[in-house]
Structure formats: structure tokens, C-alpha cells
Amino acid sequence: MRKDAELEEARNTIALSGRNFVSPIIEKAAKYLRDNRNDEGAWGHFKGLHLDLHVSALSIEALRVCNCSEFESSAEDAASHIKTIIIDKIESYDVQQLVDSLNILTGTKPKDSELEKRVVARLNELQKNTGWGEMELSIGLSCRVILALMKLEDPSNEIIKQWVDYLVQCQHSEDGGWGATPDSKSEIISTCQALRVINRFSNNSSTNNLGLAINYLINFFQTKCWDDLEDTFTISNVLQALAEIEKAPIKIVQDGIDALYEIANSDGGWGAAKGEPSNNENTALSMIALYSAGENKFVPARLVNGAFNIAEAKISQLQDELNDFNENIDQNTKKTISNIIKERNELQQKVNNLIQERNSQQMVVVSYQEKLKELEAQLRTLKFPFEAEETGKKLKGPWYRNPKIFEGIIIGLTSLLGVVLSFYVFNTYVTKLYINNNIIISLVGLLASIIGIYYFISKRSEFNIDRDQLEYGPQRRLISNELFKLLAEWPPSKREDFIFQLARAGDTPTVERDSYVNYLSEKYGEGREQRYRLQELLFQFIILPHSARLSIIDQVRNSVSVFGAHAYRE
């Protein structure tokens, strides 16, 4: 910001130091115009011809910009004469004539505000929507009107803004130019007129449009040169527009100035094209364009030197900054690289730690797998405590494993008691040879004992018990308990889901059981340890017969429905 401010100050210093002077070429042109006035003191197209309002307006403007009292007085004489004509004919003037009138009046001293207002009022009357034009709205003509209105002391900003807004809409987005009418293709004169308006009305919203329009002109001069513009009218208009734009490439402007100088005639004037006799219109147009391009500005050598010194100082300062930067760049780079290496090493260390942890986890996994295999092996080799033989629907086994052993023992003891009682009664009464009821009771007791003992002996190995209860009881209880512990901690929905999956486990083909078990343990196990545990249980579970699995499922479901919910809530 500081540098920008300094540069701006330097630029302003140089700009302010420029003084108007009469450049020899412009002075010669001004003399040409002065000498080519007609008898009325105004201008026609050529020397001595009757008044042409447009040519006169241009000539007056050209002489005014000379900033030389000698020529200014000629301009003011003509202006005051033309003013009387304007007053008479204002009602019959077309738009261009009103623009010319306004251009003459706005520079006239003393000002005739009333007449200016009348001209503006007429222009407002002839306005079509936002712009002006004879048959269709003309971009060039409307811009000329707006440029003339901008010269007023108190212009109607509303009209100007409306036109600028419309102008922005009419800009061709593809090339940045404007056409003669809103819908015609871009051409250079209309684009230049529009550019001048937008530049003078520049605000933030139109900056982009200005840039696009400048690009149009830059692109134009990339494929063409000033000589291709052929006539003085076009060269002057384009040069004037470019010269008014601060951001216009200086090289193009300089070439334009050279092109105009090249086609100037020896009499000081300009013709319609190179080699053609001078006329007032083209001379005035060329003068105005050259003035806009700064050809009438004189900057003393002392100030130019001063400007160069400032510029050199700035360059030197920038050079120093560049050197400092170059010096610092090595240190900064080394420091940065060192930080990067350090950071890289730290990251490497983290990676190593993670690898180590992964390896240890893998070992845990292996140990669990081994344990699982071991358990599986145990499971396969497990000898059930009661190895029953199947005999029809009944199972036989050692008597001491019979769960109804107590029933048998009671029956036996009862029978024994019967025998003892029988002996007692027999000894007491039979020896006395009394046959009475007691003898009968003793006989019945003896008979009962005999029957009980016979029953015990004959039926000792026959048990009508559930085979599964006998074979898988311990495993079932183990699995049920373990599953209960796991499932009790799960939310009810997960439990239900898992139990449902368990119910389907038996339907899985044998070859797919391992993968199904892995799937279930991966899906439901929370944490590695729980997964392995679940896997272990499921391997044991899945090889059980259907009825044992259903029993486990029922038991687990019933258990968790009673206790699990409580455990989960806790």
C-alpha cells in the first residue's frame, strides 16, 4: 500500500507538472482552421464554404483545446455567431445538430444556461427509450449525446446512468465491442464511442466492461495496424478514445499518433485520407485526437529528469528487495527442509510403532486361532460321560449314571424295609404259629419287596431319557452361559437379530459353516477379543445337533429376556 501511494504521488507530480503548450504541428493545424473560416467566421467543409454546424462545432472544439488565446478568440467569435443560428433553428435540428450545438454552447463564455437547457430539452424530446437514433437506436449517436451532456455543469445523471446501464447490456460478450445498433456486429467506431462514455462514467460495476472493450481494441490492433483504418475520420476517433483510457497500451497510442502525423498535409491540415486535400472536418478531428493523446502537453526536462530519478530510486529499491530475498532464500529453504525431514522421521517412527502393534495383534490372533483349534480338537475328542447305546427309542447305560437311580434306591430300600418287617413279623408271630392278619400283612410286605427288588434288577439299565440331554448337556450349558454373558451386554435389537441368525446357522451347508461363523463373529463381535470368543462359541454351537441348538437358543433367549434386559439397562 505504501508503495502504491508513493507511485501514485510520483505519477501525480509528473501529471501536474505538464503544462499546456502549443505543439508546432497542432499550431499549424490551428492556423489552417483559422484561415479556412468563411465570411461568417465559421466553417464549412472547405475553405470559404457556407457554414456546416458539425464542422464548425468540431473546429471550435479543436481551437479551444489548443489553449492559445489567439485561436481561442477565433473559436469564441464563431461560437457566438453560431449561437444566434442555434436559437433560430433549434426546433428543426436533428439529434446530431443538437449535439453539435451543445458542444459549442458548453464551452462558450459567458454561459447561456437557458439555451443549453433548451437544447437538452429538445434532446430529451427526441430520445427513444434510453438512447437516440434516426431510424433505429444508434450506439454511436447516443454516445455522442451522452458525451455532450457530460460536459454540462449540472448534467442529468439519471439519463447518463440509464444509457450507461443500457450500453453495458449491449456490449458483445464474445469480443467486448459494440455495433452501430444494439444488435449489429461489433465495429471499431461505435466501440470507441462507447468506450469513451464508459471510461468517463467509470464505476466499479463497469470496470469489467471497460477491460473487455480495451481488449477488443488490443485484439483489433493485433491483426491490423493503423494504416488499415484507411481514413482520417476513423484514425482520429480511435486515437481519441484510446488516448482517454489510462489503461490503453501506450505503444498503440504512440503508433496512432505517428499514423496521424504521417497523413498530415504540408498545409497543416488533414484530408479525408492520406494524400487527399485538407478539409476542416478532418483537420479538427485530428487536432482533437492529438490533444487527447497529450501531444499538446509540454513537460520540462527538469521534471522529466525528476521523474526518471524517482523511477530509478524505485527500481533500485526493488532491486535491493530482490537481493535480500535471494540471500534469505537459502536459509529459509534449509530451515524448511530440516523441518520437513524431522517431521518425516517422526512419521516414520509412528509407522514403525503401528507395524509393531499390528504384529503383536497378529500374534494374539495366532494364539487365539491355536487355542480355537485346540478347543475344536478337544471338542472332537471329548468323551461324553454317558455313552449310551441306542436300542430303539430307549438308551442303555451304566446304572450309576441313571438319573432315576434315587427312585430305584427308594424302591429298593422300601422293598428292603418290607423284607425286614416281614422277617420281624414272621419271627414274632410265625414262630408262635399264629396265623392272623399280621401274617398276611407280612406276606404282602414280603411280596412287595420281592416285586421291588425284581423291578430294580430287571429294569436297571432301561432309561427313557432325552438323548441330547444326556449327550450334550455340559456343552449346551457352557455355550448357553457364555452366549448369555455376551448377549446380555448387547442391545435388544442386536440380540434378536443375532438369535435369529443363530437359528439359521443349522441350515448352513457343512462346507460353508466356517465362513458363516466368521461372518457372524465379524458382524456381531465387538472388539477383537469378543469376536474370537464368539467365533469359538459358534464353532462349538454349529456342530451340535438341531435339537441341542434349539435348546440353546431357547435357553439363551429366555435368559436374556429375563436377565439380559436388566444387565443391559445397568
Binding site: Q96, T234, E281, N282
Partner: protein
């Protein structure tokens, strides 16, 4: 009181002979030729003119005039790129159709069309064209005409520039040998290219004769009639006003005059512009066409031209604008010096000579934009009347 017409009377598609106006000189010449034909001295005629200038209407008028004199007359159109046999066939069949109509006979054209089975004619029986056979056929047809009291026949051939050179030669040779009451009227279109090259109808006929190897074929047409824009403003205005008789919508006299002026008295262009003006007026629900509507019609009819002129105006200095407006006012070929004199009559000759070089470069720029043509003589001409009016309308404000 008869009910007034509400339909647009300006038909731009085809010429309507009933609205034929003007052409006094040409009609005078025609009457002489027809009188001569009636007295047994046939003489042939070619009609030359640019597109839309009224050649076909004139041919229709010739047919009408000939019929008034109890002659057999008709107009036939030639198609482009037809061979000699087809050309002859087209003409003779048109002749036989007319003959059947006038004599209330049937089967004559059918006999010609039956080719080798023809009972009456020789030419269709053979391949190619033989003048002797064609002469006998013309003689036969003339005999049929004589039977019903018709002694002369006028054959009007439209789009005659399309005629095959051999067919032209054959017709000439056959008619010259029979020396009967046939009169051939050949219409020749002078296109833009030929017009620019200054070529006339006679030049076209000479070309045809040279191509046929029969130089006399050109001289066969002793008489020429040039049809161009209407000779006078009055004739041109009549061309519009005659169509508006009994029509509900009227054109003001100044509007009619403006149409004639804008379109350089060119018949078809006038009709087209009047057609557009009529439509605009009808759409607006107005009863009368005025000059403002004519301007509006011109802008609508020549949208592109007007737009191009507006775009062109933006690139012009006031001197150039003034020059072009002055040039557009002139209906003649002019040099830069002549325009300079008109623009700056008060200047002396030395100054004029100097300034005319500037004016000339401006006219060259106009020619480059195709608004005008630079002729070999160094003068300039606006080729189309609508160009001149567009310049006047747009540049003149």
C-alpha cells in the same frame, strides 16, 4: 354501388396483363408490326429487359392485341437447359393447344405428341430436327388456321434467352422457307452481369446465332423492343393506381408517387413495395396509405439493406454523408466532379478539382461497400433504386 375489394391487389408472384399501363412507344411499334403481319409481311421481334421490368406483361399485351385482330396468338415459357427438340416440341404443342381452342377441334396436339405415330405431322416422327420437315408442319398448321379464317399467328416465347441455338436456327429456316403469316416474339432477359457489361438483346441473339453456326438466326429478328422501368412518373403511378380501383384501401397520390420514386419506376419492385404497404395499412386498420407507411414498408421490405446502411453511417464523416446523400439524389451515372459541383457550386474550378479527388475516394468507399458501381468511364452508378433510397433515408435523416 358495387362492393369494394378488401384483398391485396398487388400480386408479387406473377405479372397481370390486365393492369398493363404505359409502354406507349412499344405499343406503337407493336401495332405497326401486327398491321404488317396482317397484310402478309411478317416481321419478328425480340423484347429485351431486366428482371421484373414488365417483359412478360408486354408479351401478354401482344397476345391480347393480336387476338383483337383475329390472329392466333399465345405465350409459351421455355425451361432452362432443354435440348433443341424439346424446345421445338414446347412451342409447337403450345401452338396446337391454342389452335384446338380456337378451332374447337380435338386431337391435334395428341397427334403431335404421339411421335412416330403422328398422322398429321412429320417432325415428331423423326429423331432430331430437320428444317424442311418443320417447315411442312408449320405449313400444315397454317392450312388448319386458314380453314377457320385465321391468316396470321403470333408466337410469343418468354424466357427466350434459354432457347437452344439449334432450335432457334431451325425455326428461322423453316419459317423463312414457308413465308407464311407467322410472327415470332422472343423475350430476352438481360441479367445483372450482362447489364454491367453493357450487353444488349442483340448481343445475346448474336451469341445464339454464332453457337448454332447460323449467323442469320440473329437477323431473323429485325425488330427490337426494350422494356425498362416505366418511361414516365405518370405511367409508374398508373401501375399502382390501376390496381387500387374498386379497392377499399386507398393510396394517397404522394404515396404512389413515392413508391414510383423509391423503386425507380421499376414495375415489379413497385408492386412488391405497394404490397407490403397495403398489408401494413390493412393490419393497422387504416383506410389510406401515406408516405410514412411507405417508408415503414420500405424499412420492413429491405431490413438488411437499411441495417447495413445504418451501420455504414457510423463509420462516415459528415463530408462523406453529405456526398452520399447528394449522390443518392441523382438518378443518373455521375462522376466525382459532377457531384462535387452539385455539392459546392460556389467553388472555383481549381478548388473543385482538388476536392473532387476527396469525393472520388469517398465514392470508391461506397462502391467497395457495393452501394454503387464504378463504371469503366469513371462515373458512378447506383445499380438498384432501393440502394439510393436507403442512402437517402438513413444518411439524409
Amino acid at each position: 354501388m358495387p362492393e369494394l375489394e378488401t384483398s391485396n391487389p398487388f400480386n408479387v408472384e406473377y405479372p397481370t396483363g390486365k393492369f398493363f399501363v404505359g409502354r406507349e412507344q412499344q405499343l406503337l411499334q407493336l401495332k405497326e408490326l401486327l398491321t404488317s403481319l396482317a397484310s402478309g409481311v411478317p416481321s419478328n421481334l425480340y423484347v429485351e429487359g431486366k428482371g421484373g421490368e414488365g417483359k412478360t406483361s408486354y408479351l401478354d399485351r401482344i397476345v391480347e392485341e393480336a387476338r383483337k385482330r383475329d390472329m392466333l396468338a399465345f405465350r409459351c415459357n421455355l425451361d432452362i437447359g432443354k435440348a433443341a427438340e424439346e424446345t421445338i416440341d414446347t412451342i409447337i404443342r403450345a401452338l396446337l393447344r391454342e389452335l384446338e381452342q380456337r378451332t374447337h377441334q380435338e386431337g391435334i396436339e395428341a397427334d403431335w405428341s404421339s411421335k412416330e405415330d403422328s398422322m398429321l405431322f412429320r417432325s415428331p416422327r423423326l429423331q432430331g430436327i430437320r428444317s424442311d420437315d418443320l417447315a411442312l408442319d408449320f405449313k400444315k398448321i397454317h392450312g388448319m388456321l386458314n380453314d377457320v379464317g385465321i391468316r396470321s399467328c403470333v408466337i410469343c416465347i418468354d424466357e427466350g434467352q434459354r432457347i437452344d441455338s439449334l432450335a432457334l436456327s431451325a425455326i428461322k429456316n423453316s419459317l423463312q422457307s414457308v413465308k407464311l403469316g407467322y410472327m415470332i416474339v422472343l423475350s430476352l432477359l438481360i441479367d445483372e452481369k450482362n447489364a454491367d457489361a453493357g450487353r444488349t438483346g442483340r448481343d445475346l441473339l448474336n451469341d445464339l446465332a454464332i453457337r448454332s453456326g447460323d449467323p442469320g438466326a440473329s437477323r431473323f429478328f429485325q425488330n427490337a423492343s426494350v422494356i425498362g422501368p416505366f418511361d414516365t412518373q405518370v405511367e409508374a403511378e398508373q401501375c399502382i393506381s390501376k390496381r387500387l380501383e374498386n379497392n377499399k384501401i386507398k393510396f394517397s397520390q404522394s404515396a404512389i408517387g413515392l413508391i414510383a420514386h423509391i423503386m425507380g419506376r421499376h414495375p415489379r419492385k413497385m408492386v412488391i413495395l405497394a404490397h407490403r404497404a397495403y398489408e401494413i395499412t390493412k393490419r393497422l386498420g387504416l383506410a389510406k396509405v401515406d408516405e410514412e407507411i411507405i417508408d415503414d414498408a420500405f424499412r420492413k421490405e429491405h431490413v438488411e439493406l437499411v441495417k447495413e446502411t445504418i451501420e455504414f453511417k457510423g463509420t462516415l464523416s459528415s463530408l462523406a454523408i453529405k456526398t452520399y446523400v447528394e449522390f443518392a439524389k441523382l438518378d443518373i451515372n455521375v462522376t466525382a466532379m459532377e457531384i462535387t459541383k452539385r455539392m459546392f457550386p460556389e467553388l472555383e474550378s481549381e478548388a473543385l478539382a482538388s476536392i473532387s479527388t476527396t469525393i472520388q475516394s469517398m465514392l470508391d468507399k461506397l462502391a467497395k461497400k457495393k452501394f454503387c458501381k464504378k463504371l469503366d468511364s469513371g462515373s458512378y452508378r447506383i445499380p438498384q433504386p432501393e440502394f439510393a433510397y436507403a442512402l437517402k433515408l438513413v444518411l439524409g435523416g
